[in-house]
């Protein structure tokens, strides 16, 4: 009796999981379906699961459309995401190491000063940050889109926690060999800490590629649009060419899905580590 109940419960769980995963995948399917449909198929009152014909030509049409700087916005997003990732890892990992390993009287005060900024979400400071960036003359420049986002208290915090739990023996041996903090860091610590670099790096990359409010505020000229801003400008404008819009969305998600599938292990590890506890 009990056995049958347990088995029924297990079966129910599997069925539920399968239904839920289908629901989770439907939006991805709709994205691709609409991206490869004609405008008529998308807006047809008789909705069908499969479009009448697959139009791969939509991709070329999107890049040929002179009213939309889509190729440029893809390039901007790629530059910004790569630069932001590299530019975040370097100062944050150095700071995390210093906070974790170099004894200094005021280290705790500095740490709380950094941690405190997590209380003020970056999105709330967008008005004053906009003011600062515009007074530097950085509006609609890649500098303005990248530099202010590089100093992530979250990344610094994750690195500090990681280095606190890092085995000390190797560093001690390096110190005995006469390596100072600087060379110990580059020759011993960085190679041993590759997992945390990969984890934080992929999270920062995803965040930079997907961020919207800051690029919307700073990227005012079309030449400084990111993919997200370009997509958003289609959805909020009057004249929408739906099939172009959807194929553009597919193009914007594809690079990330590749990163995601290649680095999933690291992302999961990184997310777990960001669990604060």
């Amino acid at each position: 009796m009990d056995d049958a109940l347990v088995r029924a419960g297990r079966a129910l769980r599997v069925v539920l999981l399968i239904v839920l995963s289908l629901l989770f995948l439907i939006p991805f399917y709709l994205l691709v379906r609409n991206g490869l449909s004609s405008e008529q198929d998308i807006t047809s009152p008789r909705w069908t699961f499969f479009p009448g014909e697959l139009r791969w030509g939509n991709v070329r049409e999107l890049f040929d459309d002179p009213s939309v700087p889509f190729a440029r916005s893809l390039l901007n997003s790629a530059l910004i995401a790569v630069a932001t990732t590299v530019g975040t890892l370097l100062p944050a990992s150095l700071a995390g190491y210093g906070l974790a390993r170099i004894p200094y009287r005021h280290a705790n005060k500095v740490f709380y000063g950094i941690l405190g900024t997590l209380l003020v979400p970056a999105a709330v400071t967008f008005v004053p940050s906009f003011v600062l960036v515009s007074s530097l003359g950085w509006i609609s420049t890649l500098r303005g889109l990248i530099v202010p986002t590089l100093f992530s208290a979250f990344a610094c915090f994750v690195f500090r926690q990681y280095f606190l739990g890092f085995p000390r023996e190797l560093e001690d041996a390096a110190q005995v060999d006469g390596l100072g903090y600087w060379r110990t860091y580059w020759l011993v610590v960085v190679p041993g800490a590759r997992p945390v670099f990969a984890a934080v790096g992929t999270i920062v990359f995803l965040g930079a590629w997907n961020s919207f409010l800051w690029p919307l505020v700073i990227g005012q000229d079309q030449s400084a649009w990111t993919v997200q801003v370009a997509l958003s400008s289609f959805t909020t404008s009057q004249v929408v060419r739906l099939h172009e819009l959807f194929v553009a969305a597919v193009m914007s998600v594809l690079p990330l899905l590749l990163v995601f599938l290649c680095f999933q292990r690291w992302i999961v590890a990184g997310v777990e580590r960001s669990g604060i506890d």
Binding site: L94, V127, Q228
Partner: protein, 300 residues
Amino acid sequence: MRRRRALWFWVFVGPFAAGLALFTYVPLLWSVALSFFDAHNTVTPTHFVGLDNYTAMLRDDAFVGSLRTFLVFTAFIVPATYVFSLALALMVNRVRRARAFFRSVFFLPAACSYVVAALVWKMSIFNGVRFGLANTVLGWFGGDPVAWLSITDPPWYWLVIVTVRLWLQAGFYMILFLAGLQRIDPVLYEAAAVDGARPGWTVLRHITLPQLRATSVAVVLLLVINAFQAFDEFYNLLSDARGYPPYARPPLVYLYYTALGQGQNLGLGSAGAVILALVIAVVTVGQARWLRLGRTDADG
């Protein structure tokens, strides 16, 4: 020796601390300063107005209404995401085959931006005309099409807003819960089984949930902070060429239009940002106290 260590400390921490100061502390202080000035279209105002911007914002029904919108949204999304992602984690954790597959599928939306997700929700699933998926499904059951995003009575737009965020972020929190579940000592479950506790509700309530306490605290804090930052999906779901409708307008959307819209009223926008930052700090600190975060996160 001590001095040399201090020097090296600043070599390592200095660049980061300087950048953080310049791009977080300076804007914050500048914002506080601007909020006391009449600053239309200028970042170096001269006309000091004291607390006028603050009283104007607090008397502004639209701004106060946006804070209320945020509270309603938080009251929906925090418990909903918490329960849903915990349920996903419990199910995925106990499934025998294809665990990696299910975990990936639920986590996959994390690769999607709010802009893309809002596009699919607005133009494909919850389109108000006949070709939307939701209305098509309604039609199968003989229902009439619903204008999901534009009718306010009943406020169907909340369904659209909440589901898009659930889809995007549930997988992320599921991963946190899965990590927490892995850390629970199996001995606890064996002991419960020996004591005759049936797997299910009792075990969940007396073992799993208490053991997940630290994770839960982190999850709730992150959920509330993220809800406060809501902008992307609201903006992309509801605004169009004519602007933003007066309903479902969270504080950041309102501040965006106030500070960077046509008026460029940076003083008023800054006052709003300061009010919002204070509300967030008070809620976050209060919540951390209430959940006794300090106990598990003592000075590492």
